[in-house]
Amino acid sequence: MTATDRHIASPSAPDAAPGPGVAVQPALSIGNVSHSYGPRRALIDINFTVAPASFTALLGLNGAGKSTLFSLVTRLFGIQNGRISIFGHDISRTPGEALRLLGVVFQPRTLDLDLSLTQNLLYHAALHGISRREARLRSAEVLERIKLADRAGSKVRDLSGGQMRRLEIARALLHRPRLLLLDEATVGLDVKARADILDHVRQLVTEQGIGVLWATHLFDEIMPNDDLVVLHQGKMLAHGPVSRVVAEAGAQDVNTAFMRLTGAATLAGKPLS
């Protein structure tokens, strides 16, 4: 059973316990979303959902529209067309409720390099209205979990790239969100750091029931039981369990499926001569 099926049939969110025949609200719902920068269309009619306790990979080349989509979900940009909701809370109408349930790791580093690890975490906690006492407890807890407790007082600039990413993920989880967005979180990291971070995020899905949307352009980060969204030149080319997307593309693996889908899309986009 895929994550998409799970979210229809058996809810795994800890505080959602619907009765028979009642489906769980998607962690993230993107409905008919389009976005333009002036005349340039960055996203065209995007539709998909992310189920709670699922790992959804958003696969696309640079310029596919992944970062624009993240900016819309996080309300950095306003929605021009369509609707985005997080656990049923519309990001435009009730942004506070929606953003409470959301944790984000952006592609560029967003840590304050001159502050310590704990100070960065405390600042994030304050932005979510978490009291200093509670924030200290949670900070110590997450630093322990990501094995950086001994560096709590160090400046962030003294950390390695992988450690910074782990800290950013820990920070994104500090306010206990139910949906986690990660925008190319492993870019620039070595193989081991990438694997560690992926393992960590997948554990969050299975152990804490967090819905994850993982934007990437790296095929080897996608597992057969993930959900997959293929984005190319602002259009969504495929969405569903990896096995189904691969099968429908008539391919043997994600790599080939992606090449076929995007190759076909590129050809379709070309004017006939």
Binding site: R75, G78, G96, Y123, L127
Partner: protein, 287 residues
């Protein structure tokens, strides 16, 4: 697209609204972070002090003999030129600090730190107001440090003036910070900030009553006099000048208060995703 329409759906509860304590925690956190950044940037503190002190020790000393100051409110006797320009230099500290804060917002936006602030669930207008208050608090530290040094240079307002000037400094700091924030929303790259120096800071400072009384300006150039009258920085200077001597300039208060509200609303609208930042492409990143 996964379908969820076949069955009724449950919603994950998220508390609606925010408690007062959450607002206070957020404000404390933003001010605390701004103070930490300020403490880490000692050169920023030193340069913020050196700038007005150079004007006081060198410029004012040189012009003391050239520029005579007649008795004008709030002063009740003849005063030295250094005494006259001290409120202008206090406002200058706040002007530079306001622009420095906007520079840090552009830097934060380019480096990504600003996103941490903007994805907070608290209302965005409130977050920006907190950021503004934090910048103002930092500017107060700078101004009082300047006043402490200036005291040894015979700039000695009545003791009560150190207290009565505080609300004026808060209001002028908010106005200049809000202006900086509004400007920062229109700057796409850090490099463009040099233009702010040339087109905002210098004109505002020189076309004001910071360095010379307006009646003198009027004698020299009626046109410049009107420009100075329309310059909100002039009114910030006069508000501080009067408050430093325990007096109130109501016109200055009204102008500075009004401009603060207008600039703040402009900044909030500019940072509103559906109005300002939304219209731009991703800053230097991929689509």
């Amino acid at each position: 697209m996964s379908s969820t329409t076949a069955a009724s759906t449950t919603t994950t509860p998220a508390r609606s609204g925010f408690s007062l304590s959450e607002y206070i925690v957020c404000l404390n956190g933003i001010v605390w972070r701004e103070a930490l950044r300020f403490l880490h940037q000692r050169e920023r503190f030193v340069s913020a002090l050196v700038r007005p002190l150079v004007w006081l020790f060198i410029f004012a000393a040189g012009f003391r003999q050239v520029l005579g100051i007649s008795i004008i409110p709030p002063y009740e006797t003849y005063i030295l030129y250094e005494v006259y320009i001290a409120p202008g230099l206090m406002a200058m500290i706040q002007l530079f600090n306001g622009m420095q804060s906007s520079l840090s917002m552009v830097y934060d936006r380019e480096m990504g730190n600003m996103r941490t602030l903007l994805v907070s669930p608290l209302p965005r207008g409130y977050l920006l107001f907190c950021k503004l208050l934090a910048g103002t608090a930092v500017s107060l530290l700078q101004v009082y440090a300047f006043l402490a040094i200036a005291w040894f240079w015979d700039i000695a307002p009545p003791p009560i003036g150190y207290l009565t000037v505080l609300p004026a400094l808060v209001l002028s700091g908010l106005m200049l910070g809000a202006l900086g924030m509004l400007i920062s929303s229109g700057i796409k790259q850090l490099e463009n900030f040099a233009g702010v120096m040339n087109f905002v800071i210098f004109p505002m400072f020189f076309a004001s009553s910071a360095l010379y009384p307006l009646w003198r300006v009027q004698e020299g150039s009626p046109m410049l006099y009107y420009v100075c009258q329309w310059n909100p920085f002039t009114h910030a200077v006069e508000l501080i000048r009067f408050a430093l001597y325990g007096k109130m300039n109501w016109v200055a208060l009204a102008v500075v208060g009004g401009c603060t509200v207008v600039f703040m609303i402009g900044a909030i609208l500019a940072y509103d995703p559906s109005r300002g930042l939304a219209r731009r492409g991703p800053g230097g990143g991929e689509a």
